[in-house]
Amino acid sequence: MNCEQIRELMSEHIDGVLDGDRSRDLIGHMAECGDCRRELEALTKTVSALRDLDALEPPADLLEGIHERLSLESTFGPQPPSRIAHLFSLPWLRASAAAILLVGVICIWGLHEQGTVCERGDVHVAEATRRQNMDNYDGATLAAEADAAYPPTGSKGADRHYTRKKKEILEEGHEHDENVIAGKGSKSPVSPVAKPGTSDPMNAESGVADVVPGPKPGPVGPPGVEQPDERKDAPRHPLHQDGTMLADAEHDAIFKEASDAELGQEYKTAEQAAGEREETGPAVDAKNQLKPGSEVRKATPPNKTKEQPVEILLASADHEAALRAIAGVLPVSDQKRKLETEFALAREVTKKEAPTKKRYDVVSRTDNKTVVSVSIPATSYAELMKKLRAVGDVSVDQKYDQAATDTETRAKKQQRLPHEAASRQVQAEPREVQVRITIVTPKKK
């Protein structure tokens, strides 16, 4: 055996687990190799130093911490960060997520590039085709409308898009009506609203906004991928990309397309929705459920508030700012907040998702009054009130206002001290506050 082979045996020799033959080889080699003797001596000293390292005392409250953790998991289910982190530890999933993100970024970039020039065009095309259907415009008038809708801009991409739109108007006639309004019939990726069948932020909102820790319920389709969606045939409103709504005249023209009867079937009143939200299970007695060896079960979601919604009257000249303020307190990302506001009206005629997932409902809308029912995190009530006061005059019943403020205070305390709450088996506070806001806007002449 050479020195290198002998040195590989030294560790086992020190532990006394080297078999007889190899042990004899090592000892024989030591007798004649000074370098290896010094190596063995240094390694022996190293192992001795390793074994001399002091053991640390575990924290005195370790057992208590374990109990708290078990209580928490029993109440709220396994903590999400580790589960999500585990998911994202899978290389293929990381790669998929990166790919989806990349496609999303490209789509958003595309919207920014072309959306501005197209939004105006889409409105005019919609108006033109609608008028064509209603009034049987002749071809020349229609062509004139299309030309008016799409004047040459000098931008190559925009002009190409306009030319295609004009062609669609002239060739497809009646078939190309409301779908254009919704940005659906066109293959162009430039409509500022999400296309049906693609990733819909309104579907995603409930998952993101869920107050109960846990993975999002239901996947969100990647942008550009067609997915089954019963709402795909419903018309949508083109909205300006900067989040502002259409001018009243434009909006009214489009909005009349949805019949009141249809709306009546699809909408649930706030009271009905509140009734459905109340159908939750009993609170969990965490500690009594602890039993080693059993899977820590997911608890039922915390009780949602059973109180009446907080009624707020908001007199605001800026209707859209009020809608944005309301959407702004929903616990979703900034981008989704913006989209949420943009889609607020679109949802009026397209929402068919399960009522329990709704957090933002436009209950009714007239020329100067809109009633919005929104479910916000209890901790965001003050923020909502602040935002509303910034856009108009707010009136709220003091009794309900105080109750919501108290709920918020308790929820924030529970948020700060979850362990304490769990260890004391404090009844989980309602984590959401139901608010019903009536926005009154002066009529425009």
Binding site: R7, E8, M10, S11, E12, D15, V17, A42, L43, K45, T46, V47, A49, L50, R51, D52, L53, D54, A55, L56, E57, P58, P59, L62, L63, G65, I66, R69, L70, E73, S82, A85, H86, F88, S89, L290, K291, P292, G293, S294, E295, V296
Partner: protein
Amino acid sequence: MSNQIETDELVRRAKDGDMAAFDELVRVFQGPMFNLAYRMVNNREDANDLTQEIFVKMYRSIGKFRGDSRFSTWLYTVAANTCRSRLRQLRRVSSHETVRLDSNWDEDTTRSIEPVDSGASPVEELERDELKQCVELAVAELPEEFRAIVVMRDLQGLTYQEISGAMECSIGTVKSRLSRARTRVKAELRRRGLV
């Protein structure tokens, strides 16, 4: 042997849902588990959290322990897997912060190597402290698989067989990794003129 019998009895009771037995198992194994966790993450707070996670996993899955191996070996397997998982998470958070060395050395480490009155001269005490500190740093710099094995073997005295079971690898792999880990530590000590 009596300890093993007591442990087996505690495990049996814990599997039947006895929380007191579960608590007792935690008390018996919290020292080795905390020290293993500490050596893996080099931070007392994270080690506390990691140790809690190990015992929560033990709680969840003790019903699946069939007694084919010693309970301690099974628990070390749970611990090793939990440590691997945690280190993966930490690497994602900061790929350059797997260990906290000179700049951030935990005060507990310093406390643990405070000189004790052993009758040695002050110079000898200083040399011993320096050696300990260097060994700690060298261990912290080892790759995680090497580190886990050297901690289990040299700091906690597990047999090759037990380490093989805990790390779910062959005894040959354990021998090889242990030898390389010790050689690396030795090289670090030699670089500092301590061996």
